[in-house]
């Protein structure tokens, strides 16, 4: 029983970051229809920017995280503006090739700049775990969980409760009509991609201090993000949030009760089952964003 609670708690920490990755990708893939193979690279970028800010520049921890999230958003905006905007209206395959190119360039760029040796990010939290009844949790993990919840809530409010969010949803529901309303749809594309990328960067910035940071860490993150989007249903915000948490918990249980070597396999078994039995996602009935 105690072990179960402990696994659930760990699963929520991991799942929260999967949710951030998945929400980011459901905006980019589900709404914008860009099959973004470089999504995980924004996760890597978030982790390395945090490392650079904290370990090299000595910036305070929270400011470092904020800068990493902002950096992910800015690079996302630039990537959309420079690489994808000229391809608007081209087939999904063409943009896919471009994002594969971006993936390769970014990953090798990280390797060139940082080298292949994994880095660890310093953080100000005490390492002694906090004991909460039957379970114990490192203060850093508790902070990550709170930050993830705040970011998910913030993204939700932005998309569902602000004029900008309404314009995003309108744009991806009906492009021409959104333009007729006076919405600069090109700008909405850039902002949406930037938001999605910054959420991936946030996941990297938050998980970075828990695990290690290395150039190819984004590959698995991309895979998880696509899994979460499939689980939640394309373009479904709540689905991505729940799908991420579910995947994290399932992996943690699999690792705990089967074998830690099977951690990633558990996730893929779930994805295969979902694709076989509920191909439009576990939460297909929930409201779509656009």
């Amino acid at each position: 029983m105690e072990a179960l609670l402990q696994h659930l708690l760990n699963g929520l920490v991991l799942g929260g970051t999967y949710a951030l990755l998945g929400i980011g990708l459901t905006l980019i893939f589900g709404l914008m229809h860009v099959v973004n193979f470089a999504h995980g690279e924004f996760y890597t970028l978030g982790a390395y920017l945090t490392f650079a800010a904290l370990a090299l520049l000595g910036v305070p921890f929270f400011l470092g995280l904020a800068l990493a999230i902002l950096g992910g958003g800015l690079l996302g905006a630039a990537g959309e503006r420079v690489l994808l905007r000229p391809l608007r209206g081209e087939s999904i395959d063409t943009t896919m090739l471009v994002t594969i190119g971006l993936w390769i360039v970014l990953q090798n760029g990280e390797l060139l700049v940082w080298g292949g040796v994994a880095k660890s990010i310093p953080h100000p939290f005490p390492t002694a775990p906090i004991v909460l009844g039957p379970v114990s949790v490192a203060p850093l993990r508790l902070f990550v969980m709170a930050a993830v919840l705040a970011l998910i809530a913030g993204a939700h409010l932005l998309i569902h409760r602000t004029p900008l969010g309404t314009a995003m949803r309108a744009t991806f529901q009906d492009h021409d009509t959104a333009a007729l309303m006076g919405i600069d749809t090109g700008r909405i594309h850039t902002l949406t991609f930037a938001l999605g990328s910054s959420l991936a960067a946030a996941a990297g910035a938050l998980l970075g201090p828990i695990f290690l940071v290395y150039p190819s860490m984004g590959d698995l993150a991309s895979l998880k993000a696509f899994s979460v989007v499939i689980l939640g249903g394309l373009g479904n915000f709540a689905g991505a949030a729940l799908g991420g948490l579910l995947l994290g918990v399932a992996e943690e249980l699999g690792a705990g009760y089967v074998s830690s070597g099977y951690r990633d396999a558990v996730g893929f078994v779930i994805i295969i089952l979902v694709l076989l039995f509920r191909p439009s996602g576990l939460f297909a009935r929930a409201e779509r964003v656009g």
Partner: protein, 232 residues
Amino acid sequence: MLALESVSAGYGRLAALRDVTLEVRRGELVCLLGANGAGKSTTLKTISGLLAPRSGRVVFDGEAISGLAAPAIVRRGIAHCPEGRRVFPYLTVEENLRIGAWTRRDGVAAELDAVVAHFPILGERRRQAAGTLSGGEQQMLAIGRALMSRPRLLLLDEPSLGLAPAAADATFRIVGDIRDRGTTVLMVEQNAYAALRMADRAYVMETGRITLAGAARDLLRDEHVRRAYLGG
């Protein structure tokens, strides 16, 4: 107020408009008639900036607006209520209305109240997804949404399309009200009889060209119009 000067436009290699010249004066209700595929919607899209003309000019308030993008044209005071209503199905009724006022910073709440006062059903359905409204309600929403930008010129593309007779009549009454309250209207309609009865002037389009123009009451009596568009 609005003038098209020898406008040609098309899609890819297809020429949909050839040398279209027409004019809408301040305060008028002008209607554009024509068979399916004549180029009526294309004309409206060329005015609102969804399509750039290949040649010719669109002039609004004395300035050329052809070549401007759609958002810039809404800001100048032209709202386009597109064919098939095109409400945003997953947005609520209120969100649809608010997005209509995207180009405005102030007076949005007052405008929302005014539109809801005009279309009480939209007030009742405020929090409902627009995709769940009936066709007639969606048409009210599409028109209300277009009004939210406080346009000086309203382009309406087949507002009665697919509506039951009662809903179509209600829609025409609303269009009349809008004109009476001072908004200039250019309306495309298949229901030529209803449109000509309320319009000041009308143009008839065939295969991308304007073939006839005149006062609406004269066109109602015109032999060709009667045969082609009024069923005898």
